[in-house]
Amino acid sequence: MNTTLTSVDFAALSPLLIVLTGALLMLLLETFAQVFTRKYAAIIVFTILAIAIWAACCSPTTNHSLLTPWLRFDLLSRLFSVLFLSIGIAITLLSTRFFQKFQASQGEYYFLLLSSLFGLILVAQSADFLTLFLGIETLSIALYVMCGYMKKWEISHEASIKYFITGAIAAAFLLYGIALIYGAIGTTSFDHLYSKFYGLTTSSDIILFLSGITLVTIGLSFKAAIVPFHTWAPDVYCGAPTPVTAFMAVGTKAGAFIAFIRVFAVALPQFDPFWSRGISILAMITLVYANIVALRQVQLRRFFAYSGISHAGFLLIPLAAGTADSIQALVFYIVVYTIATLGAFTVLAFLDHRQEGVTLNDLKGLYRRSPLLSLLFTLCLLTLAGIPPTAGFFAKFYLLKTAFQVKYYLLVIVALLTTIIAAYYYLRMVALMFSDITTENYSPIRSWPAAIVGILSIVSIVVLSIYPTILLNLINFSNK
């Protein structure tokens, strides 16, 4: 077996290596030069991530026998690496001002952020249950700390502990599921799942395998916050500092779904009609429950937890459908959701001025105070609500098309009816912004880095709305 790694192999690994080195660098800097990091940490992290994106775009693929059993270097992993790194950049930009304002130290925060990004990229590239688990755990452990990063916030303590406990349980589920699958087919590699599963003859093995799959599904559902495994999400989102909530809302969500894609859509496409049916039922429960509960939320971080859960319900639809273009539909939706959610959290970052975060009341009369912020927020909310002509509508249309193709009519109808509720609560927020009753007159903070995120999300929403084909061509997996 060839065990020497050439420079090409290192180049293929470069996004991971750059993020890892960057993370360690931040930790060292924080230890030895605190004053320096407090000033320049964000700029350094920004540079590291920019280099990593460049590396992820042009890294070569490798088929070194030491790497390929564990990591994939295909279009999907490349795309998601870029997506995660871009999320990282956006979170960095949102974080700088936040931590300056609340006077928390920064160096180790960025170490944690980079570690969790490392975990996410690992998940995106995983070719084996072990790397998948490694990635998810790296992500989660860093996130547990990030949630409780505001040490003086009481709600953060609760959030962090709750997240840790449920996260640990989820990890146990996942790991137990992996163990059962290994017990049934004798391998943890994704490549062999499909063929080995169809090679199973004894019914005990099949039961073992299916139980394993069920446990893995539950474990991942915890991470993706799908009803009924969602109970941690509202409290954790509510208690975490706003940039961290943003990171969880987009990063963890996308991470959980790339794991779903890796295990189910790619490795086990439509392996079992019963599983598909189960997922479609989960999707319906999630959509109905999350949308109804979201109606009553006043704290916006909490609101976005429920909004995120309902979008997770949408993202389950193509998984249940499992048609040829369902991965494309799923990825398109994730990208649109990510952009719009990041844009919305940018607004929250601008308005955030206390522990409890932004509430619906703070939105009143935002249009009079800051027309640009309200424009950004409106655009993002309309995209999330999926109202044409925003890209959110294409995304939903495409998802529902995949479900329709496999005749999940009920699912399509439930999804469409819940969009009415969703439209109501998103638009109610828009209406509040354009009302003229101003409760209190604090003005939004000024922060150029966060403004960049806002502008970028406006531009990308507009571009994607007018010409979605750009992204669709980019994520065309059928003829790679």
């Binding site: 309309l382 495409y398 098309k401 638009l427 354009f434 669709l472 065309n476």
Partner: protein, 477 residues
């Protein structure tokens, strides 16, 4: 064609970005902008029919950016191009907050409507259909009356609920037609799709809410009443026509057999709407609400014409849709002027106004006569055609419908009587009559009303092929 589509969006962006100039100049600019489409339409009047854009927009989903103009589209395009400038003229520029946003939104709406009336791909049709709600929502929400937030949200939720399932129908048609959403190819396949009755119902529900057909009008009184005058004009004159156009374009062309079999039921609803609207209008103590209900009644009259299956009735309905757009915007314009002068829209506020404002009184009178379909006015032609068509299928119903005309005379003249011709109370302040500028706004509307009333054949020439097309589709099957 591409210019016609893009010009409003371009001018809308310009309007949003207008520099800090005097409000009056902004208004003037916005009106100029809004006239571009009309000028474009007029300048090449004979060449529009048949012109199209077809661009493969989202190849992975088989969606084309396909706009095409036929005679039906052209009529509604003209209506849009005429009404939008009028609604802008109805604005009092000195009292308008956030003028840039307002003008930008109205022009954006114009662009979306042009897109909607020409869309020849079902996906595009859906996008424009939903998208045109947003500018209207903001217009009600930002510039409306005291209860505007409630009215605007109610309006929007009604609309979204009405068309929520439309996406389902669109996807269903996509699969039955073999991956194309082009309206031409759907004409062949739509009504043979599985469950096509349900798909038809989904579409009709969306159109019925927007028009609105009785009993889907719950949003109407609040939205019409709370919207600013310009917004009310847009809602009543154009938005309701979007519903009518939807019925013509999707209902008649794609689902003609169902349209025919379901005609009697829909006809019943439309009849109920005509009378319900008329009685409600009669009972109002507020003239803006009165006109709102009269608009509801008349729109249902148009729908009566659509649901009777023959060329005369359809032609009458199409013409009447245009007429109603012109007349109702004229009436709301007048109501806006009255509101400015009286400071309220209550019927008891002013009495015997004819003595103080004779010109306004006569202008109102012309519009009221147009609304009650006096011979020689535009509505007469349309309503007579509808009566004609209805008579061919049922004599009794025609007689019944005739009563609604009497009702409309009753409530309209009651308004005129109370407002203008009662004995003036001695405590009234002196009101100013119409200014020259306002007369100049009213004049083109009066001319248009008389022109269609006295010499309708140029318009009928456009109406005829559109009406015949709908009937012909069934004939070929």
């Amino acid at each position: 064609m591409i210019l016609l589509f893009l010009i409003s969006f371009a001018t809308s962006i310009l309007a949003f970005l207008l520099p800090n100039i005097k409000n009056q100049n902004k208004k003037l600019l916005a009106i100029l902008f809004s006239l571009f489409p009309l000028l474009l339409l007029l300048s090449q009047h004979n060449h529009w029919t048949g012109s199209k854009i077809d661009y493969n927009w989202i190849p992975p989903l088989g969606i084309h950016f396909h706009l095409q103009i036929d005679s039906l589209s052209l009529l509604f395009l003209y209506l849009t191009a005429i009404i939008i400038p009028i609604s802008l003229l109805a604005v009092r520029s000195s009292k308008l907050a956030h003028p840039n946003t307002f003008y930008g939104l109205v022009l954006l709406l114009e662009g979306l409507l042009i897109g909607f009336f020409t869309a020849h791909d079902l996906f595009l049709f859906t996008i424009f259909w939903e998208a045109m709600l947003l500018p209207l929502y903001f217009i009600i929400n930002l510039w409306g009356g005291p209860q505007r937030y409630y009215a605007a949200l109610k309006f929007l939720i009604y609309m979204i609920t009405g068309s929520a399932l439309m996406v389902f129908a669109v996807i269903a048609l996509f699969f039955t037609s073999g991956g194309s959403l082009d309206l031409d190819s759907l004409t062949q396949t739509a009504s043979s799709a599985p469950y096509s009755v349900w798909l038809f119902t989904i579409f009709m529900l969306a159109f019925a809410v927007k028009t609105p057909l009785f009993p889907f009008h719950g949003w109407l009184p609040d939205a019409y009443y709370q919207a600013p005058t310009a917004g009310t004009i847009l809602l009543s004159a154009i938005l309701s026509k979007a519903g009518v156009y939807g019925i013509l374009r999707i209902g008649m062309e794609l689902f003609a057999p169902f349209m025919k079999t379901w005609g009697p039921l829909l006809l019943g609803l439309a009849f109920a709407g005509v009378f319900y609207g008329a009685f409600c209008a009669w009972a109002q103590k507020d003239f803006k609400r009165l006109i709102a209900y009269s608009s509801f009644s008349h729109v249902n009259f148009v729908l009566v014409g659509l649901f009777v299956w023959n060329t005369n009735a359809h032609g009458g309905a199409i013409l009447q849709a245009i007429n109603h757009g012109i007349t109702i915007s004229a009436l709301f314009l007048v109501s806006g002027w009255l509101e400015e002068r009286l400071g309220s829209t209550s019927l008891s506020e002013g009495r015997g106004l004819a003595a103080y404002m004779p010109v306004l009184c006569w202008v109102t009178f012309v519009f009221v006569l147009s609304s009650v379909a006096l011979p020689g006015m535009n509505n007469f032609v349309g309503e007579v055609l509808i009566f004609f068509g209805l008579f061919q299928s049922n004599h009794w119903l025609t007689a019944l419908l005739g009563i609604s005309i009497i009702l409309s005379v009753v409530y309209m003249l009651r308004w005129m009587q109370k407002m203008y011709f009662d004995s003036p109370s001695p405590f009234q302040e002196r009101w100013t009559d119409l200014k020259t500028k306002e007369i100049l706004i009213a004049l083109p509307l009066i001319l248009l009303i008389l022109w269609i009333g006295i010499y309708p054949s140029p318009v009928l020439k456009e109406v005829k092929p559109a009406a015949e097309k709908t009937i012909a589709i069934v004939g070929t099957k």
